[in-house]
C-alpha cells in the first residue's frame, strides 16, 4: 500500500444552495469518509481555513492571503492508503465535491525508500 493525498479545490456551496441542501451534501461527505474508514483506506483529513499568510523567497517577504481565485484555493486535504494511483483515483470518484463542480487532485506521497 502507498499513501496518496487528495487536495480539494472549488468554491464550495453557492448562494443558491439551501440549508437543507447543504445538510444533505454534508451527509454525503460523511458517507464517503466513513466508507474510506471502513475499508481501512482513510489515513487523515482536515479542512483548511480560507485565510492565511504567504512567506516568499530569499527575503522571506510575508504577504496576506487569499492568494488566488477561490476556485483554485486548496480547501482541505485527505490522505488515503491505496494500492496504486489508479486505485487512489477510483476511490476519489465517490467524493461529493464533484456534485458541487469542485475538483480534486490526487498526488502520491513520495516515499523515502530507494526508488525502484
Amino acid at each position: 500500500m502507498e499513501k496518496f493525498i487528495y487536495l480539494f479545490r472549488g468554491e464550495g456551496p453557492n448562494r443558491e444552495m439551501s440549508p437543507e441542501a447543504m445538510q444533505e451534501h454534508m451527509q454525503k461527505w460523511f458517507a464517503w469518509m466513513s466508507k474510506l474508514t471502513q475499508e481501512g483506506t482513510f489515513v487523515a483529513g482536515e479542512p483548511l481555513q480560507p485565510v492565511g499568510k504567504q512567506v516568499n523567497g530569499t527575503k522571506k517577504l510575508v504577504t496576506d492571503g487569499p492568494f488566488i481565485e477561490a476556485k483554485e484555493m486548496v480547501g482541505g486535504f485527505v490522505i488515503v492508503n491505496a494500492r496504486d494511483i489508479d486505485h487512489a483515483v477510483e476511490l476519489s470518484k465517490g467524493c461529493p465535491i464533484f456534485d458541487v463542480d469542485g475538483k480534486l487532485e490526487v498526488r502520491p506521497i513520495q516515499k523515502m525508500e530507494m526508488p525502484s
Binding site: P13, R15, E16, Q27, W29, M33, S34, P47
Partner: protein, 423 residues
C-alpha cells in the same frame, strides 16, 4: 491520524438541523440589526452554514452543533457591527454602539429566550397587515423556516422566478412601510395574532391539501406550521384560546397523515381510512390543546374546526360518527364565516344526517363554487349515494377537468370506472 469518532457521528446530525437553525439565526440577527437589514442577516447565516459544512464534513459533527453555529454567527455579527458595515444604521439599538454592551447584547439574543422572542417578533413582522397573504406565507418560509426560493416554489408548485419576485416585492414593502420587529401594542395584539394564526393555518393547509405529489415536501410544510404555532402557545402573551384551538386542529389533522394516502400515493377517503394508523400521540396532544382552548367567552372558527376534527378523531368508525353533532358545529361555523368551502363540507355532514337528496339541493344553490374541483367531486359522491349515476358521472368528469393533481385525478378515475362498470 485516526478519527474513531467519525463512524459514530455519521448519523448524528439532527434532521433539518441546518434549516431550523438557519431560521432561528436569521430571526435573531434581524432582531439585532433591524428588519431593514434582514438580507445581511441572511448573508451571515449562509456563511455560517457554509463554514459548518466545510469544517464538519472532514471531522464530523461537533458535540454541540447548535452552539458551534451560534458562535460563528455571533462572531460574524459582532465583526460586522464593529466595522460599521450594516447598510441601514442600527441607531435604534444603542446597546450595539458601545463595546461595553455589544457582546453581552449579542450573547443574550442568542440564548434560548432571546431566540424564541426573536422568532415571535419575526412572525408578527412577516404577517404585517400591509403584506398580502401569499407574501406573508412566502416570507415565513424563507426567513423563519430556512427554505430557499426553489424549495418554496416546489412546495407551491410554482416556479423559482415567481417566488423570487414575490420575495422582492415583499422586501420592498418592508422598507417602504418601515415594518419593524416590535411587538404590536396590547390593543392591537389580538388582531395581529389573528393574522399570524391565519398565515400559519394557510401554510398548514397548503401542506395538507396541496397537490404537490411529494409527500415529504407536504409534511414539511405542516411540520413547520406546527412548530411556529407551538412557539405561540409557549409565550403567555400569544397563548390565546384560539392559538390552542389551532394547535389542536393541526394535531388532529397531522395525526391522520399516514392513513390519507396508500403506498402508491393514492388518496384514501375518510370512510376508508385505517383508523389504527392514526397517530395516537398526536391525537392525545390534540385533545389536550382543545381542552386548553376551552377558556374565554369567544368561540373562534378554529375552535369549531378543531371540535369537528375531534369528533372524527374520537369516533371508532365512520359509521358510528356523531354526524348530528358535526352538522350542528358546521351550522354555527357557516353562520360565522359564510365560507363556501365550509358549506361544502357541511353538505357532506348533512347528507349523513338527512340523506343525499337534501344535501344535493343545498349544494346546487352554491353557485360561487361551480368552478371548484371539490364542489363537483362532492356532488359526484352525493349523486352516487342517491343512486343517480348519470348525474354523478357528469360531475366526476367536470371535477376531473379541474384538477392537475395526479392523486386527485386517480381518485376520480376510480370513481368513474366504478360507475361505468355498473351501467
Amino acid at each position: 491520524m485516526e478519527n474513531p469518532q467519525r463512524n459514530n457521528q455519521v448519523n448524528n446530525v439532527v434532521d433539518h438541523l441546518f434549516r431550523h437553525e438557519a431560521g432561528k439565526m436569521v430571526a435573531v440577527l434581524a432582531h439585532l440589526f433591524g428588519f431593514a437589514n434582514v438580507e445581511q442577516a441572511e448573508d451571515i447565516v449562509h456563511d455560517t452554514i457554509v463554514k459548518a459544512l466545510e469544517t464538519w464534513k472532514f471531522n464530523g459533527v461537533p458535540p454541540n452543533p447548535q452552539a458551534w453555529l451560534y458562535r460563528v454567527a455571533k462572531n460574524n455579527a459582532i465583526d460586522l457591527i464593529r466595522r460599521d458595515k450594516l447598510k441601514h444604521k442600527v441607531e435604534h439599538n444603542v446597546l450595539l454602539q458601545s463595546e461595553y454592551t455589544l457582546v453581552p447584547t449579542v450573547d443574550e439574543l442568542f440564548a434560548e429566550p432571546g431566540i424564541k422572542d426573536s422568532q415571535l417578533r419575526m412572525m408578527y413582522a412577516c404577517c404585517h397587515p400591509s403584506i398580502p397573504s401569499e407574501g406573508q406565507i412566502t416570507l415565513i418560509l424563507k426567513i423563519l423556516c430556512g427554505l430557499n426560493a426553489k424549495e418554496i416554489s416546489n412546495a407551491f408548485l410554482s416556479n423559482e422566478e415567481a417566488i423570487n419576485k414575490r420575495l422582492y416585492r415583499t422586501r420592498e414593502k418592508i422598507r417602504k412601510e418601515h415594518i419593524t420587529l416590535d411587538y404590536p401594542d396590547s390593543n392591537e395584539l389580538r388582531d395581529r395574532t389573528e393574522a399570524v394564526l391565519k398565515a400559519l393555518y394557510l401554510l398548514f393547509n397548503e401542506g395538507y391539501h396541496s397537490s404537490q405529489p411529494e409527500k415529504l415536501i407536504r409534511e414539511d410544510l405542516c411540520e413547520e406550521a406546527m412548530r411556529l404555532v407551538l412557539l405561540l402557545t409557549e409565550e403567555p402573551k400569544t397563548n390565546l384560546p384560539e392559538t390552542n384551538a389551532l394547535m389542536a386542529l393541526m394535531c388532529y389533522q397531522a395525526a391522520r397523515f399516514n392513513s390519507r394516502l396508500d403506498d402508491k400515493g393514492f388518496i384514501i377517503l375518510l370512510q376508508d381510512q385505517d383508523r389504527s394508523l392514526w397517530n395516537t400521540y398526536l391525537l392525545g396532544k390534540a385533545n389536550e390543546y382543545l381542552e386548553k382552548a376551552a377558556t374565554g367567552i369567544m368561540i373562534h372558527p378554529y375552535h369549531m374546526e378543531a371540535a369537528i376534527a375531534s369528533v372524527h378523531a374520537n369516533s371508532l368508525s365512520y359509521e358510528t360518527t356523531d354526524w348530528l353533532l358535526i352538522l350542528s358545529i358546521y351550522d354555527r361555523l357557516l353562520a360565522d364565516t359564510h365560507n363556501p368551502m365550509v358549506a361544502l363540507n357541511r353538505a357532506l355532514a348533512l347528507s349523513e344526517v338527512e340523506g343525499p337528496q337534501i344535501a344535493i339541493g343545498e349544494l346546487l344553490s352554491l353557485h360561487e363554487l361551480s368552478g371548484s374541483f371539490y364542489y363537483h367531486a362532492t356532488l359526484g359522491v352525493l349523486y352516487t349515494k342517491a343512486g343517480n349515476d348519470a348525474e354523478a358521472l357528469n360531475h366526476f368528469l367536470d371535477a376531473l377537468s379541474m384538477t392537475n393533481s395526479a392523486a386527485e385525478q386517480q381518485l376520480l378515475k376510480r370513481k368513474i370506472a366504478a360507475l361505468t362498470a355498473k351501467s
